[in-house]
C-alpha cells in the first residue's frame, strides 16, 4: 500500500560530497515518525528536501503516490525550524503571514490566528512583538504559524533544542495532537524525546538509513551496530 508521504532513493550532494545517500522513507497520518541521528547525519537536509526548500541531486518525493516538484511539496508541507525565526512584526502578523499569502479571507484570519495561538497556550499574545518573546515562546509562535496553515504534512526540525522543560512539554504535546490528523516527521538527536513521541523511528547515519522500525522494537532490540552505539551514546559522526 502506498504511504501518504514517500521518498525514493533521495540523494543530495554538495560539491560532490554526499549528504544524503539513496534515502527511502515513508510516513502516514496518525503516526509520528522520528528521524534520529547524530549531528551532521543529514536529518535537516532530508526534511528540507521533503519541505520543498532544496532540490535533491537525485531521487524523488511523492505525496499520495504522485511525484512532486518543489512547488508542489511546499503546498503539501510546512516546516518548523530548530532556531525559531520570526518576522519583525507582531505575533498576530507572524501567524497571519501564511494565511494571507495563501489567500485566506480577511474575515477569517483573526479567528484562525487566535485558534492557532490557543493551541500553543499563547492566547492574548497577538499584539506582542514576536522578536521580544523568549526563545520558548518564539518556538511556540513558530508552531502556531505552521499549524494555522493546516497542511497535511508537518515537519519539525529539532523543535525543542535549547528549550526549557516547560516549553518542550507544550511543544511535544502539540506535536502529538497534530499527529491525529496529519503526517508528522520530527528530526531529533534527543533519544528520550524520540522515545516519548515516536510511533516509528528512522536512524540516519552519514546520510544513509541504517535502521528503521516501530519505536518499541527500535529502542528495545536495535539490530544495526551503529544504532546500538547511538542508543548507548557511543556513536560519533
Amino acid at each position: 500500500m502506498t504511504s501518504l508521504l514517500e521518498t525514493v532513493d533521495l540523494t543530495k550532494q554538495y560539491t560532490g560530497v554526499p549528504v544524503l545517500d539513496r534515502v527511502s522513507v515513508a510516513a502516514d497520518p496518525r503516526k509520528i515518525t522520528s528521524i534520529v541521528g547524530v549531528n551532521g547525519a543529514g536529518k535537516t537536509t532530508l526534511l528540507k528536501i521533503i519541505a520543498g526548500l532544496i532540490a535533491p541531486t537525485s531521487g524523488r518525493v511523492s505525496v499520495h503516490g504522485r511525484e512532486c516538484d518543489q512547488d508542489q511539496l511546499r503546498s503539501h508541507c510546512t516546516m518548523v525550524f530548530q532556531r525559531s525565526v520570526m518576522f519583525g512584526s507582531s505575533v498576530h502578523d507572524n501567524v497571519a503571514y501564511g494565511l494571507r499569502i495563501n489567500k485566506t479571507p480577511n474575515s477569517e484570519i483573526a479567528e484562525e490566528v487566535q485558534e492557532a495561538l490557543a493551541v500553543v497556550n499563547l492566547e492574548g499574545f497577538e499584539k506582542r512583538k514576536a522578536r521580544r518573546l523568549s526563545s520558548g515562546e518564539q518556538q511556540r509562535v513558530a508552531m502556531a504559524r505552521a499549524l494555522a496553515l493546516d497542511r497535511e504534512i508537518l515537519l519539525f526540525d529539532e523543535p525543542t533544542a535549547n528549550l526549557d522543560p516547560a516549553n518542550s512539554m507544550i511543544i511535544e504535546h502539540v506535536i502529538k495532537e497534530s499527529a491525529h490528523t496529519k503526517v508528522v516527521l520530527v528530526s531529533t538527536h534527543n533519544l528520550s524525546q524520540a522515545r516519548r513521541l515516536s510511533d516509528r523511528v528512522i536512524h540516519l547515519y552519514k546520510g544513509r538509513v541504517v535502521e528503521e522500525g516501530e519505536a518499541g522494537s527500535f529502542f528495545a532490540n536495535p539490530k544495526d551496530e551503529r544504532t546500538k552505539l547511538f542508543i548507548n551514546g557511543g556513536l560519533q559522526f
Binding site: 528540507k48 519541505a51 520543498g52 526548500l53 511546499r74 503546498s75 508541507c77 510546512t78 516546516m79 525550524f81 532556531r83 525565526v85 518576522f87 519583525g88 512584526s89 503571514y97 501564511g98 499569502i101 495563501n102 512583538k129 514576536a130 522578536r131 521580544r132 504559524r145 505552521a146 496553515l149
Partner: protein
Amino acid sequence: MIRAIGLILSGDPEVYRIASLSLYTAGTGTLLSCTWSIPISTVLALRNFHGKRVLKGLFNAAIGIPTVALGLYLYLVLSRSGPLGSFQFLYTPNAIIIGQSILVSPIVVSFSASALESVDPELRDLARTLGASDLQTYGVIIKEASWGVILAVMAAFNRAFGELGIAMMLGGNIRYVTRLLTTAIALETARGEIALSIALSFILLAITVSVSVAVNLARKPTS
C-alpha cells in the same frame, strides 16, 4: 558671516529657486535610480549566477567614480552630435537628473545589496515554507532590510544633492534654468561673492542634515 545669514533670512526668491531646483533634481534623480538599482541589488544579493562577484566588485568600484569624468561621458552622449542628442536634454534639468541617477546607482545597488545580504537567510526558507512565491519571498527580505535600503537611498540623495561635476557639465549653470546650489556656490566664489557662497553653502548643509535627521526620526523603534 552676518551678511550670509542676512541673505538667507531675507528670503531672496532666486536663492530659494536654486535650492528648490537642487532638491528637485537630486530627489528625482535618486528616485529614478531606485527604479532599476533596487531590483538589481535584489538580484545581486539573493540570486546566484556566474560573474556575480565581479559585478558586485564593479558596482563597489563605481561608487567613487569622479563626477567630472561621468559628466564628460554623458555630455558626449547627450550633446547634439551624440547618440541621444535628438532629445535635446543637454543644459536642461532633465540632463542633470539623468546624470545624477546614473551617478548614484552604484551607491543604491551596493549598499542595498549589502543590507539585503545581511538579512537572516533562514527568513527566506521560512517565507517559502509558509507558501510564499519567489516574489513574495523577496518582498519579505526587502521589508526586513528596509532600513538599510532607506539608508542607501539617503546616501544616494546626499551624493546627488552635493555633487558639482555633472550639474556643471550637463546643466551648464544657466541662471533660472539649471543653476543649482553647488554650481551657484562655485560661480559666486569665483566671482568673489563669498557672503553669498557661504549663505548658499549653509542652505546646502542645512538641507543635507535635515533630510538625514528627518529620515532617522521617521524610523520606527526596532523590535
